[in-house]
Assembly symmetry: D2
Homo-oligomer: 305 residues x 4
Amino acid sequence: MELRGTIIEDTYAEAFDMWACRLIVTAVDGRWARAAAQEATGYGASIIGCDAEAGIDSVLDATQTPDRRAGVAMMFFTRSVDDLARAATNRVGQCVLTCPTTALFDGTPRDLLPTQTQRIPIGENISVFGDGFEQRAETHGRTCLRIPVMDGWFVVEASARAIPAVGGGQFLICAGDQARALQAACRAVDAIAHVPDAITPFPNGVVRSGSKVGAKTPNVGASTNESYCPPLREQVRSKLRDGVECVYEIVIDGLTRQAVEQAMRVGITAACGEGVTAITACDHGGRLGKIHLPLHKILKGKTDP
Amino acid sequence: MELRGTIIEDTYAEAFDMWACRLIVTAVDGRWARAAAQEATGYGASIIGCDAEAGIDSVLDATQTPDRRAGVAMMFFTRSVDDLARAATNRVGQCVLTCPTTALFDGTPRDLLPTQTQRIPIGENISVFGDGFEQRAETHGRTCLRIPVMDGWFVVEASARAIPAVGGGQFLICAGDQARALQAACRAVDAIAHVPDAITPFPNGVVRSGSKVGAKTPNVGASTNESYCPPLREQVRSKLRDGVECVYEIVIDGLTRQAVEQAMRVGITAACGEGVTAITACDHGGRLGKIHLPLHKILKGKTDP
Amino acid sequence: MELRGTIIEDTYAEAFDMWACRLIVTAVDGRWARAAAQEATGYGASIIGCDAEAGIDSVLDATQTPDRRAGVAMMFFTRSVDDLARAATNRVGQCVLTCPTTALFDGTPRDLLPTQTQRIPIGENISVFGDGFEQRAETHGRTCLRIPVMDGWFVVEASARAIPAVGGGQFLICAGDQARALQAACRAVDAIAHVPDAITPFPNGVVRSGSKVGAKTPNVGASTNESYCPPLREQVRSKLRDGVECVYEIVIDGLTRQAVEQAMRVGITAACGEGVTAITACDHGGRLGKIHLPLHKILKGKTDP
Amino acid sequence: MELRGTIIEDTYAEAFDMWACRLIVTAVDGRWARAAAQEATGYGASIIGCDAEAGIDSVLDATQTPDRRAGVAMMFFTRSVDDLARAATNRVGQCVLTCPTTALFDGTPRDLLPTQTQRIPIGENISVFGDGFEQRAETHGRTCLRIPVMDGWFVVEASARAIPAVGGGQFLICAGDQARALQAACRAVDAIAHVPDAITPFPNGVVRSGSKVGAKTPNVGASTNESYCPPLREQVRSKLRDGVECVYEIVIDGLTRQAVEQAMRVGITAACGEGVTAITACDHGGRLGKIHLPLHKILKGKTDP
């Protein structure tokens, strides 16, 4: 399969099950909502080393938030509900509770409430900070806690929903040089930014340290995937096509498989052309994830439910 | 003491000893250096709940970086050298190693090398990711490791310096309403941004959740400092002056006591006036830190060495 | 009428007829589309002194642009079609033609094509830069010109639509101090940013130099509106309520009266409360514009077609 | 001459005499100073079509501004003092006078006051807006005008200095593809951003529409320079080396010849390598400017006074 001169390999991304929550932070204006969201979703690139994979889903106007203020929707992904409760509570406690004028609400889209939905008591957990001065309040149609702080009350929804989600959507952009590979990656990330319910958790959305599961050293969970490293081409059994001198990976987490596939579709489409040799996906031999996301089917729009 | 109509209380901030490192991330252009630095210093507001307090010290031009590329200087603070090695290694591994075109170097200012300096082996630690394909290299006047990645080699200095530092510099801005308090806080943060070797680790540099050590609930390390919460004024023994309806805290970490004091000096000076009733500091009765930073002396420029 | 403690005066904004175009600039990624759009819409605050009032309407993803690349929609407003053709041509020629990888297309929303629509030959005008090497091309469903430049071809639609539009939508935010007034203004501008087909052309969307038509000095078109200046309260017949010490104006241009009214509605709604004394509009005694936009009716959603 | 594999052609940029002013805008915080500066320097790419070439020189902290507030230094360049007075007055009147909390001061560096310095009465010109309510004031060590506005008084220095300056510093980055050319251009612009007293007036600092003086059509001042357009390679006498498929130009204006040369030096140095074939400068046969800036001498640091 070929798109604007770029070969799309007939392979698939190995995605896997995760748990996710979508949280809305609001503030007195958009600048402060963004400040809180940026800090709360920072250092959230990969669960290999971070407590969660995190990112900003979208910027919200006053009609889209429970308290009719400017807001930002954040998303957090982990492997278990417990991990999610822990990471989300701590991130909200450190980066939202502390931030001027903010409030925090559950932001799970209404049409995404599967039967497996669970509740994580973020607000309840944080309310211990109130030291007995906190109050329970029904407000904005939600059960919230009001915690006294130095600029008034921090309003936080008592609990948020955790829903099953999909992590590890990904594709690789292979090009003849670094500049063209990176420009293609930027095109992909810009396109994915507009897809609802999907994030690219790495810095500016692009990864250059493709990894394999395990390493020669025991007890190391991940190490460089030498088959995709151009400098090692002569030393190893390389999976790089001739002429490929640089590869970037786009990693995607989504609330649903559909969101991840849509992100892969628009991202791959945007990346093709302009000196990009091939689009492929990292083959982990099934050791990473059980959800197969085949590139060709996704691009043709024929995907599994 | 009074400055532009604002009372400066005769009190002091309780700062404490920390360990810090200053790391320089470089990249193909300033945009990517910033992307890596922003992610690597995210979720780094307070060691109460984060593995480090982190922030961007300054943006560097090519003449200021070892590899003559655009760069950003990041700073990380923890309570012990071990914590620092762990946090810095993990943050660099997740957020810099992964980020297109970056390299990482020790960035401790040359004139700040006290006898207690220690080495944290960030590069050595991360090099396990190379899975045996990594190389040792003397380059840019440093001992570095070169780790193969999909866009070439990630160059990382083998070790970085950890130096004794000062955390918990702080002051409180007390005003008659939220808007004036926040505007004053923004003035302070903008001024502190230009002070070398000092950061304000919270979102956009401002804190609204002033805390006390401990809580009524056992085993809770910190809880709201009710004496500074305007909504609790009638219920508790408030430390707020009449008319104060909003308080923001500026928290500062610095590589030296001088840097923290300079940040407090320019921050307080910028915050005064425009409806700000008073500047004070949070009194923890000596339970927080042993370094006393007295506001009056600092403003007069008469401070201890 | 009152909203969250803020009085809404029973008055109206004097808006006036303008001509407008909406242009889409696309580029290799969103960063370059924004760079071009920001430069092209700069120095476009008021037609009192600028050749056009200009601003960014919205950021577009690849599905929303003719050439399926990242884009930004810009809007330009003038008093006549000739002025619009001149300003838009020159701004595109200086700030888009020159900018790496960009292309330019007409972006008038399809449902906004009144019978009075006119064509302004932006692309035709600019094509003289091609010095005979330019080409006509049917591409992306448009009649375009291709002008050779140093990074390839600049594709620009031969002509764009000019449509009748509405300028001078406005309201005044009156508060007891500068900080609360400015915070309310930021709330308003953030809310209006999400309204399609409307812009706030001044720096960050807020105006502090309210003007009246004419001046004591002959041949001066506009001068400070002393009745709204707090410092002149004692010297002139002030229109300020007791306690108002700061006023900010939000100025809105829109492709339709409906867009301007919607922007006023969400902007006023967001601005109210938090120490804002009153919302009003500047009364020019009918000397400015013939379109009356009554605040009360707009807030109630009962407005003229 | 060669640098990291890139050929530096033995040629020169044809720069020319301009007049310039450096103005400092201050505001309540850095955000508003930037908002005013960005608008005031917008639409200021080239005097071919704009009233001035304009850009931000640097962000200033409170110790660097007359009124001890956060600030930004802007620079404006024109061919004559009259044009400069007109453009600067109008830009300040439209984009600074109007912007919340700002003040405006002359910002010419003290060591750059040649004998030819002239005064442009920006503040005096704008003060007519005060309609008789303006006041003269000696403040911050300057002769200023205070103009009543809705958020208080706009303080503007009565006059600013116009000094002889240098425009048209430039160089061309020639590469084998668009992505590498643009990445090199970004490296150059990032490096130049740190050079004092020099700006790159085009969008994000990069130009792709290289022009020649005149055109086949009479009365057209500038048209595409076909000798540098890769798509026209076969049709014209091309000046492009074999394999060059994309060229970007960096244009620099500076308060002094030294500043322009320093900007060219760091910009060219940063651009070289990474697939850049050659650095050259546009030869206009002496029709553009009389100041010759030879690339080789500049890179060697041997330049005329």
